[in-house]
Structures are given as C-alpha cells and as structure tokens.
C-alpha cells in the first residue's frame, strides 16, 4: 500500500498531456477555421461590428489556450464567450433599442431608408428608353433580364446584380437568344412565372438614382426612374413630379413643409419617448397600469397558493404512520414532470366553455366562461398555475420538514403547545426561513411566466376599449411580446417593447436584490 496511488497516472501523464495537446490543437484549429470564415463573411457583408467582435473572440481564444498565464480562463472562456454575446450583449442592446424608435417604418439606417424610398417611388419616365428584353434564369433559378442597348450590345443582370455587359451572348435581330451560364426562358416558362417577371426589378447600375429596368410583357424593357431625387449635399429629398422638398426631421423621417412625411424612415434615438409612451400615452398607459398590477398580483398569488397547498400536503403526508404515503407522494408530484406548455394547452381545452370536460362532465353540463370572462380567466390562470406549481412546493417543503430539528418539537410538547400553536410558532417560521430564497425565485419566475399566459388564455379576454391587442390576463412579458409585433398581430415597435423590457428588468432586479441580501450569498464567496 505504500506504493503511490498515482504511479500509473504519473507514468502515463506524458502520453496524456501529449494526447491532450493534440486534442487542443485540433479544437483550436477548428475554432480558428470557423472564425476566419466568419471574419471573411463579415468583411464581405460589411458588418463591422460583427467583424470586430469575431476578431476579438478569435484573438482571445488563441491567446488563452497558448499562453501559460491564463489558466483559469482556459476553463471559463467557452461559457464566457456565449454569455457575453447572447446574454450580456443582448441585455445591453435592449437598453439601447429602448431609447430608439426602431420598428415598422424605422427599420434601418438612413442610407438604406433613402435607397428604399428611391426604389419604391420608381415610375416609368415618359419617353424613357426602351430595349428589347429576354427573360433568363441563372443556374440557381434566379430570374434575370438580358437586354440589348442602342448599339446592339447585350447586357444581363438580376435583382441583386446590376446590369453588366455580356459579350458572349448570341444576339439575333437585336434580341438576346442564348447566353452561356443562363437559361433563356421560353413563352410557356415566362407565363408560369409571370408574377415574378413583372415584379422583377433589375438595377441599371449600383446607384439607385439611375433607376432600373422593368417589363410588363417580357419582351420590352423600360427604364424606371424614381420620382424622388436625393440631394446628398443639402440632405433633402425632392419629389420631381410635384416639386415638394422634404427635409429630415428629428423622428428619422423626411418631412415636407406642410408636415407630410415619406413612408420609409430610419431609426434614431428618441430619448425617453418610449417610456413616456408607456406611462403617459392613454393607448398604452391605461392597459399598462392594469397589466403591471395584475402581474404583481398573479406572481404573488401564484407563490402564495402553491406554497400553501404544497406545505399543507407536505405536512399531511409527513406522518410516518400513514400507509401508502410513498404512493401519494409520487402521484401528487406528477404534474411537476409535465412540461408547462403542455399543461397550459391541456387545461385550455379542459376549461373550454362549450366543449371542455370541466363544464361538460365534472360540473354536469354547465356553461361557465372560464377563459373568456375577465375575472374567471384570472381565477383559471391561478388555478392552472396552482396545479402546475404545488408539486414543486410540496417537494421543497417535504425536504425542509424532514430536516427540521426534532428536539425543538419535544420541547414544545413539554411546554404544552397544541398542534396549532406548534405549527404557527415553530413549523411555519422554520419552513419559511428554509424556503424563502426559493419562494423569491418562484416569484421572479412567475413574474415572467409567458408560456402559461400565452398558452392558456393568450392574454385574453381583450380589453374592450384598447386599440392595442392586450387583454385582462396579459402580464408584462406577454405585453412586451404583443407590442413588439413579432407575431404579426400589431405593428412592430421594438423601441417600446424594449422600454417595457427595461421596466421588467428593473422590477426583477429589485426582487433579486432583496433575495440577494436575504440569502447573503455574497458573504459566502470567499
């Protein structure tokens, strides 16, 4: 036994680290290859922010894994990289978007907005040149136009590629009949893709002001030019048909002297305007206040009801003389193993007013609007959350009950305390102390219990008087979802949605800070 335990390991350690080094080399090579690919792609797409982030991550990875001085980082870096990009950055970005008017009508940068405006306002200019045109398709199936200019030279282009000379095209009677690398579409094929052909817009050059070639009949192409003209020097947009001059305003739109604006804008920072909308604009402020209140009530009552039932059952089943208590326990915690989204959808069906099993069978054919009456819907949400949540509370209370010190109870018994007194002065406080952190995190979880609300009631029933799609059981997070317009039910307003997210961040942060102090976790970080 005096032999060192790690003799084998010592002898093999050379080969282990050799193999380990090889594995490390292969992994780093892989990361580098993917990283360089990403960097090149970002370069090509002109996304400088992503480019910088990728270069930084690559350099960091190579430095960390080849220096001897960054031992802890070798273990932390992989998780840290994901954390920085997908959590820290997005939270920061939420903060930025909250102060912009990002959303429908303000989706992009000013350059892109100008380009979109020019393209959208293209008209066929009277007397503009026309050219014989052939519809062609690339190998990838993308449609393109092949046209011949006055000199009879062939040019070809697609929606993404402006017209470029095609010297090897076969031209007969001034019409392109064959083009290497492209398929010339015949009449039948053109008819099949008619809509695509008439919608296709092939830019004349890289400059959107030059206009584009379009066709109605697939035989003749006309040059379309924008009725808007952008003057880069004066930073104004002029409508050449009416002569109205539009100048950029503070909201990120071109505005004429009479107040009319052009439809495509760009995103600008708007300060606290989104927060002002949430708290001040009657369209949002009224539902917002109701929803904020309900979110607190919902989260608090969810914790209270689940904890009460869970604790009650834990105490009921905590008598060692109770036969079959293992079976009771196993069966009562079954809902905990049911994924939340399934449970909510299932209950949505069971509580259906006209066909659901609760009304039809359990209550004998009544018609109670469980999910469509404002108050009952709230009760239903709490009931379903009770079903989903009590097993968790039951589990932690059972665990806590079994770890309560027995001698204290002996003492209480000797002192003549009754059952009720023991519970009120001993069990309850001890349980609360033991489970307080979990109760607080349960509150924070329910505060953002989007799945339950979305699946069970969808936030409904809707507020009758609201112009925005919000309802009586909506909580803050589902309000954010509806306002963001990501499901297509409302115009997209990322700015306002992010501002509301910030409000949730503040609330959740405050709650967690309380929890933080409670558990004194900080003191334990040695």
């Amino acid at each position: 036994m005096s032999r060192p335990r790690y003799r084998g390991a010592e002898a093999g350690s050379g080969s282990f680290s050799g193999a380990g080094f090889a594995v490390k080399l292969v992994l780093i090579a892989l990361v580098d290859a993917l990283g360089v690919f990403g960097v090149l792609a970002a370069w090509k797409a002109g996304s400088w922010g992503i480019l910088a982030a990728m270069v930084a991550l690559l350099v960091a990875a190579n430095w960390v894994y080849f220096t001897k001085r960054a031992l802890p980082l070798k273990y932390i870096l992989p998780g840290l990289a994901f954390l920085l990009v997908y959590q820290v950055y997005v939270i920061g970005y939420t903060g930025y978007v909250a102060f912009t008017n990002y959303g429908d009508g303000h989706n992009s940068t000013k350059e892109q907005a100008i380009e979109a405006l020019l393209v959208q306002n293209e008209r066929r200019v009277e007397g503009s040149p026309s050219a014989p045109l052939t519809v062609v398709a690339s190998d990838g199936g993308d449609l393109g136009f092949a046209v011949t200019d006055e000199a009879g030279e062939a040019e070809v282009g697609t929606a993404d590629e402006p017209l470029a000379e095609a010297p090897d095209a076969t031209v007969s009677d001034g019409v392109v009949t064959a083009l290497p690398g492209w398929t010339v579409l015949d009449r039948q094929q053109v008819l099949e893709r008619q809509d695509e052909v008439t919608a296709l817009r092939v830019p004349v050059s890289d400059d959107p002001a030059d206009g584009s070639v379009r066709t109605q009949d697939a035989r003749t192409g006309y040059v379309f030019q924008s009725v808007l003209e952008y003057d880069a020097g004066a930073d104004t947009m002029t409508d050449t048909s009416t002569g109205v001059v539009y100048t950029p305003n503070d909201d990120g739109q071109f505005e004429a002297a009479d107040g009319t604006t052009l439809p495509v804008g760009w995103r600008v920072t708007v300060g606290f305007e989104n927060f002002a909308t949430a708290f001040g604009d009657p369209r949002y402020a009224e539902p917002f206040v109701k929803i904020l209140a309900w979110t607190f009530v919902f989260a608090a009552l969810s914790v209270a009801t689940t904890f009460a039932l869970g604790m009650f059952l834990a105490m009921v089943f905590n008598d060692p003389r109770l036969r079959g208590r293992k079976i009771y326990r196993t069966l009562t915690i079954l809902p905990y193993a049911m994924p939340g989204f399934l449970a909510a959808l299932l209950w949505a069906g069971m509580l259906n007013e006209s066909f659901g099993v609760v009304n039809q069978v359990l209550l004998g054919g009544v018609s109670i609007p469980w999910l469509t009456d404002p108050w009952l819907a709230k009760v239903s949400v709490l009931l379903v959350n009770l079903w989903l949540g009590f097993p968790y509370m039951f589990l932690i209370c059972t665990g806590a009950l079994q770890s309560l010190p027995g001698d204290v109870y002996e003492a209480a018994k000797i002192d003549g305390a009754g059952r009720w007194r023991t519970w009120r002065s001993l069990t309850m406080p001890l349980l609360l102390v033991a489970t307080a952190p979990l109760l607080i995190s349960s509150f924070a979880f329910n505060f953002n219990n989007f799945t339950l609300i979305k699946m069970l009631t969808g936030g409904g029933p809707r507020f009758e008087d609201a112009s925005v799609p919000l309802g009586h059981t909506d909580i803050l997070i589902s309000m954010v979802y509806n306002v963001s317009g990501l499901d297509g039910s409302a115009p997209r307003d990322y700015g306002l949605a992010s501002a509301l997210s910030i409000v949730i961040f503040v609330v959740v942060g405050a709650i967690s800070a309380i929890a933080f102090r409670q558990t004194r976790k900080l003191e334990e970080l040695s």
Binding site: L345, A348, S484, T519
Partner: protein, 306 residues
C-alpha cells in the same frame, strides 16, 4: 402497499420509522389522526392526476375532437397516434430532442469547467467574476427576446447558420444562458469535494487538466446529472425564444408546433394534440421519475440553507 412498508427500508429514504411497532388504535382516533390524511391524499391525487388521465383518454379516443373526448375511455383506438405520422410531429420531436440534448451537453461542459475554475483557482477578478455572474443570472435571457431577434437578423446576414430560423442559432442562444443559471449550483457542489484530493494528485504529477477530467468530473457526477436534466427540461418547454427564432414549420420545436395546432383549431385538432402531448410528456416523465431523488436533492442543494 403492505409488502412495501414491511420490506426492509430503502437506504436514504428516511422512512425507517414507519416500521416501528404498529399498535392498533381505535377507529375514532384513527380517523382523527390518520383517516383524514387519507381523505386529503385521495383528493390531492385526484386533482393532480385527473388531467393526466384525461389527456391519455383523449389521445385514445377515435373521434379526435374536444367533445368526443369527454367520456373517459369510452372507446380505445390508436387512430390519433397513427395520424401523427401524417403531420410534422416527429420532425418537431426530433428538433426538440436535438436542441435539448445539445443544449444540456453544452451547458454541463461549459458550466462545469467554469465552476472548476472558480472553485479551484485563485486569480485576480475571481470575486468580481462570481459577483457579476450572480448579478447577470438575475436577468432572464428571455426578457431580451427582441434584442435576440435583432441580433440574429444581423448575424444571419453574415453567417446564415447563426441567423434566424436556424436550430444551431437557437442552441447558441440557449448556451448563452448556461453559465449564469448553473454555475452557482455547480460551484457549491464543487466546493464540497475535498481539495486534498487534487493536491495529492498534483503532487503525484497530474496536470490541471488531468485533475479536472479524471478526478473532479468523476466525483461531481450527481450534480452534472441534475444540471443536464434541468437544462434539458427547461429547453424542452421553452417557448418564447424558440417561437421568435424558428420561423419555418420544419424547424419548429414541440412547444411551438403543438401551440400552433391548438391555437388555430382547438376543437378539431384535440385528438392529435392529446396524442402528441402524451408522447412528448413521456420522455420527460420517465426521466423525471427515474432521477427523482437527484432532482429533489439538486433543487434544495442550490439555495436552501437550513
């Protein structure tokens, strides 16, 4: 049941007292002390189990409608399960399992590595790192779903595989939440492994990587299992980010897909939904019952301080 209680107690269940002398009591006392507990137990079980029984029955009902499912087990047939084959259900199931397994494996690997570093090394910025993690984990990632959506639009213009409508991108997003949520659970557990073990190994010439892979990871397997399981289950049921990121039907997860069925045509799709729900709940249920003891331990290990 009787054989159950009289069999030698399973270790670690703390129920050994139940086999102490079982003296007969009078019916009145029995009802007062134990009888009512049975009544409560039966009621609680009924409340907990009824929806599960109902969904099983609905999945076996051949009519496939909400109304037709109201009589429990009136008729039993596998029609709904067979009909699932004509839908995208199995694609969704595959997506969900792939995303769930990839996320939980990645979470365990990255979380355990970070916990090891924080638990075993002393370096500048360690305290700051732990504190920042603690603060970051307060803010659930799902709250930033708008920013995630916008980030993925930009990423997709550079690398389409990391952009919207990509399962890989969704996994990456989930992995972004890995460190914040789980490092502390693991960190606490890692601290309970005696440091003398790694010191002994180091004296014998083991490198830090050897200590990590061959000693520490073996000893912390229970917490790895808990974290993997919790991460799998939460990924399995995650809806909002999956809904925002995955746009084409063939990429959906079960949560997004089943929601689509029920939200559009609740009455008509009920049988399909019920069958799908039973099949999707089964793996989680099985895992859960199998690893129940670990989960309960894990739930309380992180935060309950007696």
């Amino acid at each position: 049941m009787t054989t159950h209680t009289q069999a030698p107690a399973l270790p670690g269940h703390g129920q050994g007292q139940s086999q102490q002398l079982r003296t007969r009591m009078r019916p009145g006392r029995w009802a007062r002390e134990l009888g009512w507990r049975h009544v409560v137990g039966v009621l609680a079980v009924a409340f907990a189990v009824f929806p599960l029984v109902y969904v099983l029955s609905a999945s076996l009902s051949p009519t496939g409608t909400l109304t037709g499912s109201n009589e429990l087990f009136a008729e039993v047939s596998g029609t709904n399960y067979a009909a699932l084959g004509d839908t995208r259900f199995w694609t969704w199931m595959g997506n969900t399992l792939v995303i769930g397994v990839a996320t939980s494996v990645g979470t365990v690997l990255m979380g355990a590595a970070a916990a090891y570093a924080f638990s075993r090394f002393r370096f500048t910025g360690r305290r700051l790192g732990l504190t920042s993690l603690l603060i970051i984990q307060m803010f659930p990632q799902m709250l930033a779903f708008v920013a995630i959506f916008l980030l993925l639009i930009s990423l997709g213009q550079v690398v389409p595989a990391l952009g919207l409508n990509s399962r890989l991108a969704l996994i990456c997003v989930y992995l972004g939440g890995a460190l914040g949520v789980n490092t502390f659970l693991m960190y606490g557990f890692f601290n309970t492994i005696p440091r003398e073990l790694d010191e002994a190994a180091k004296i014998d010439g083991a490198s830090h990587a050897q200590v990590y892979w061959t000693i520490i990871l073996r000893l912390v397997t229970p917490i790895l299992a808990v974290v993997a399981l919790l991460s799998f289950i939460s990924t399995f049921g995650e809806f909002i980010i999956a809904r925002v990121v995955l746009q084409s039907e063939s990429n959906w997860t079960l949560a997004v897909g089943l929601y689509g069925w029920v939200s559009s045509l609740l009455e008509a799709n009920w049988g399909l939904f019920a069958a799908g729900a039973v099949l999707s709940a089964l793996p989680v249920l099985a895992l859960f019952l199998f690893l129940q003891r670990y989960i309960v331990g894990g739930l309380t290990a992180g935060s309950v301080k007696g």
